[in-house]
Assembly symmetry: D3
Homo-oligomer: 296 residues x 6
């Protein structure tokens, strides 16, 4: 048996398939929902003023400094309206820029005009997330810690926002509640303590997989380690508290700093020796980056 | 025939039905999508650590200053997981506050824990939008202009964000491309000019309905008025330009200022005499307001 | 093992369950589609003018002579909007009347007003179909033939229109292309003749089931009988032609008259001795019967 | 920036895209529903008698006088079954004719035979609606009034029937309950009078948009005008009543005549000076126009 | 009118279209569900280790003796992931074999690897059903009876398993509860006896269609025949009992043996003179046949 | 903050909620699909012979020795047909038995008869899987290894079959391709070797998560360990090979034996010292266990 895997030229470098979004059912669903909510019964203005057989070319421009992210989603938006629309990237997904064309579009004029706002609504937000992620990644570069996102994402767009976090240069924590065990304070209380909760998780969940536990002080950290946790989330600790946890853990578990972290104190937190720093602001408070679509 | 419409005590004041969200298919779809993306195959941690028949009470707290918005959506989120969960508001939808409990929750513990993040993800964003809208509404109070939102909304959440804009105190522009004629620069070019575009819109769209046209200077404003536009969007004009447009229009059409408006210059724009000021930042750049859910 | 089937008083006599419509997925889908196309993003007028907690009573009235049909569908329409709406029939499904109340409605005022048009759009059409069916059934009463409907139904409403045909007093032909073999002229040509087509059908379709074949003259009738057809559709024959076919068949197959039948010649066709007469006009040309919904 | 909108030859003149139907989600849904209800688990007869690789040509013929409407829907029906089927119009959508071929079809024989009935069921109804609409449009030609449809449409087919109304030559009233304010008697009563209802509508609905109010006499007309209505629907008035309303309104509001209008009295109503006449019969009582599909 | 049906070379002999599966909505739904449950948020391993533009060739091999069945389903699985994947059968659907290649696959490497398990999960089960069906068909060959399947199928895969039964050489009983009347013991009791039940079925169901009744002894057989049954299911009778039933029926009804039949006694049962033998084990207990997919 | 989690008596011990199935979207989808494929346009026989308001009681009986599994699914099936049906377990989910009643059912007779076959089709298969899993668990009891299932499950029922595996006493491997990294031979080849593949997985996948690698000999095992694998799947090794792998790994990685394992050699494999043994036959070849539903 000989491997015959060879490169094909079919999909362009930034296509939806290339970044793994095109086959994702959740991506198709949010695009469908976004188009449906904008189009309703149809684009009255475009249908009245643009001939059905008119074609057009257009350009998407980035109008503010930041990381470009989401072109493959824009491509899927237009394809959902009319598969004849062609989106050709002229800037690279993940590149930093400002005041530049990022893609050229060609195809039926009606589909381009009707899809414009929905496509841009995705691109402006994902580029905002990627830009915030790039800033965080640069802050911790060299500090040894990895910046992770959280589940504080925009409803319906988690897979896209987690993609933007990666494009920006940070990495992903759990994709959802089914993607790993994270025992939080409420679970601990419900189970009757850290030891009981970790034990229940070990018995009742798939045996291959890590168990992470949230703790608030060193005593709980000790209990978590003794109970067999693989990762410990240290909640809302200041840098001194994190350093103490790192010292106490002594490599027996991985440590995640979470809560109260901002871009302002991220560098200091990252230098405490923790393995991970999670940052909800990557997704919940990243502003939109300005983009426009110009026909002509 | 005698009217027999009488108040019923069934739906509480802030229920989804009371604010018109409960029957909206698009709202149910985005909630379903949000829960599906978070739950995936199930909440591993909660199923492992919380007994299936445990009940709990919990509290949603607002942790930053702003307008509360989205409690009815949180109620729909929990109801989608388990109809036995009860959400009781203790602060009023649309009220301003900080550091306060806003709702009490009671019901099956598993559903409360599994729905927590999704519910908060909705509330934190909608409260952010309502807060930005409240600020804008206060700025223009007394100036005679109405602040409108735009279609620069979060994909899949337009109906919710437009609800938050109303809760905050501003009003809604078009709900979508089928909800009124707005002839923009690209349409004008495709139709061969303002006169042709307005004529096409009058001929081809439902006869009851206003026609709005985007213009960039006074000559275009003159042409739009002559062509029979009902509303004219003056694009990217400074206050002097807007005042000139108001003078030229002389009440023959309504005027909307759009583009380049921020909270910083909103007061001045609103005093130019235009009828409407549209502000994309109400929805695309409103930050999340911090909320937490605490069991106990 | 003792049978314990006993009547329950739960479902009222004309409920959706009683007539087998409530569990039908296709019925739920067309109702959902009908409400979605009417409500869109919401009932602007009702939400603006009717308090969310107002209740109302209303009456559906029949305003023209005919057979009442579709009340269970109206009940499903209102239930889809708000399960608290109660529909109480005061006339019997299938009864003939004019200028009379047929149902009383009570519940949340918004749901009653928002669902009014959709509910009536179903009832007016189904009552039209049932009325046409009643007329046809009366015409053939005593003639020995059974009047059947066809597949010339309103897209998306076949199961409802076939229900209305039964309510009116006629009976149903195939529910769809999967519901029995009917070899038409095009199939015969594609298969290379009647004998070949019947043979193919016998070999390739479930062995329990009748085979019906369309013929246009006596020679084809002979061939169909020889090939083993169970039922023969005699296409577009006049009464003399039908009588000749009845004589030739001599009870070896059942005969269906189809094509060119109207209420005007139905009596004569029914007396030719054929077993079935199929009548597309029962569904495709039945006019709407007028109904109104009055609050108060 | 130079406009580059140029005609493309890709979509033929009568394609679904050309008439704005192909991208409409509601159209795709009703087509899917119609095919599902007819095909069920599959077309037993065709699968038994037609070879899977057979191709065929066929012709759709119009068999009665009227306006052709719905060919693009037929094309979508066949495309949903098998994208290799080609539908080529030979008569123009919207043209009047009788006893003529209207389209040629070529492609896989199974798809043509399995889709025949569903395609024709759409075309026969839409052509009926367009024919009724053409008759109405001709009656009012020169009278100054515009004939509008209503919401008394076939459940699930509103967007198609409103398209047929336009093809026939009349125009569309509201597409649905979210498409404009129309305050009817029940709303007035719930709100506590015309003045209160119009005020509520002005306060609670998007500020750009007309407000229409239903009145039954001149006193209500006066109140509606004073309250600021843009359009007034005069319900069930005879021509004298309409003329009185026109005189009283004196151009301050647009007037719509509704109720009790038929093709017989339409000309007289249209000459009363009202702006609009709405006619439910365009959609709820238009009979089917006869069409056939012949292979060969 | 001349028939122009001619063979086309487009669809290969074993394509989904050729076997009638490609257009079946239920088939597409179960494939979508199967891919969704395996892929979840994406194929982590493949996305990490295989370049997005890599292509590959692969081979599906049969690793145990039996009837090949389900290649068209595998083709639909890969097409649902990426329409560029090509599946070329090298063994014939329905052929018996062992240790042989059955199909070659070429296309994007990611889609091939991500779809492998789902495709094989279908093929291994359907080949198991076809193999069991082939064995049963061979056992009864020459005995005059036809072996039928039952409704004891895998939820969600009935249409596929009934296809596999036909591929194997047996034939299909009812496709579902709407596909023919089969009055069982519970129905008889609810209706008040065989005579009443058959009468109700005759009156209330479409007049073209057979009525089958389940009986447990000769007295019930007599009653069923007298009541006008077309087919009688003799439940759980041994060969002597079946022979007695055949003698008593004397050709007045068709007889089906059901219950207690296994491959071990099938030959004897088939020789009793019954028309049909139904065998639930064809679908509910057929083991999976082993297949593998090898890249290279 | 005080925990107030207290037991509630609402959900019975074996309810769908109690076993985590009721909220699972995939479970609801396969149940919907299964009912749709059986009911089609409706249950002709039941609707003809059972009065709409008849109620009935019934009993589900286990007719062969094995582990009961799937009663909560049966409950969901009946609830999807009619929420008034009550299913009361009389044997415990997961218990071993034979020839015994396992549940009593009460409610509308039509829903019980129409749902019977679909409910049993789920229960018979899941009980078969749980029985096979119980046997495997008993074989390895005390041997130190854990038996895992695979992804060789019935399309559309993975979540149910993995539930049945747990009910039987074994544990779950990956739920799907997104639920952990498992680098197989094809991935290794595509990535250019084990070291490269593990490196790619570490860089491109979420940092919290184990990496498992498939190897075929000790050299590959060495490379996998050196590359940093957490778990190594030893493919198709005999017991001697597995013992050699255990010795070589020396606790540095966990080991999974996979391929060629049957119930016959499972005990020996489990005693080799591997951590996990995966067994596809738990799901792909478990026979159905016989159950019946008797009214009365």
């Amino acid at each position: 048996m000989t491997a015959t895997m060879t490169p094909t030229t079919a999909p362009p470098a930034l296509s939806p398939a290339a970044v793994g979004l095109g086959q994702n059912g959740a991506v198709r669903e949010i695009i469908r929902l976004a188009l449906a909510e904008d189009l309703g019964r149809g684009d009255l203005t475009t249908e009245a003023t643009v001939a059905p057989d008119a074609t057009a070319t257009a350009e998407i421009r980035q109008k503010a400094p930041g990381v470009l992210c989401g072109l493959p989603v824009a491509e899927l938006v237009f394809a959902a309206l009319d598969p004849r629309v062609r989106v050709t990237p002229v800037a690279e997904e993940g590149s930093w820029g400002d005041g530049r064309p990022v893609a050229r579009i060609a195809g039926p004029a009606r589909a381009i005009l009707s899809g414009e706002r929905t496509a841009l609504n995705f691109v402006q937000r994902l580029s905002g997330v990627a830009t915030a992620s790039r800033r965080a990644a640069e802050i911790v570069a060299g500090a040894g810690a990895t910046v992770l996102d959280t589940r504080k994402t925009t409803p319906g767009q988690r897979v896209l926002e987690k993609y933007a976090v990666r494009v920006g240069g940070c990495r992903n924590h759990r994709a959802g509640l089914d993607d790993g065990i994270l025992i939080k304070e409420n679970h601990i209380r419900a189970a009757g303590g850290i030891t009981a909760a970790v034990g229940a998780a070990r018995r009742r969940t798939p045996p291959m997989g890590l168990v992470e536990v949230e703790v608030t002080d060193l005593a709980e950290l000790d209990e978590a380690i003794a109970a067999g946790a693989d990762v410990v989330l240290v909640d809302n600790a200041d840098p001194d508290g994190l350093r103490a946890a790192v010292a106490r853990a002594a490599g027996r578990v991985r440590l995640e700093a979470s809560g109260g972290v901002t871009l302002a104190n991220l560098a200091e937190v990252a230098r405490t020796g923790v393995d991970y720093v999670s940052l909800g602001a990557l997704t919940h408070s990243a502003g939109a980056l300005d983009f426009s679509l110009l026909v002509g």
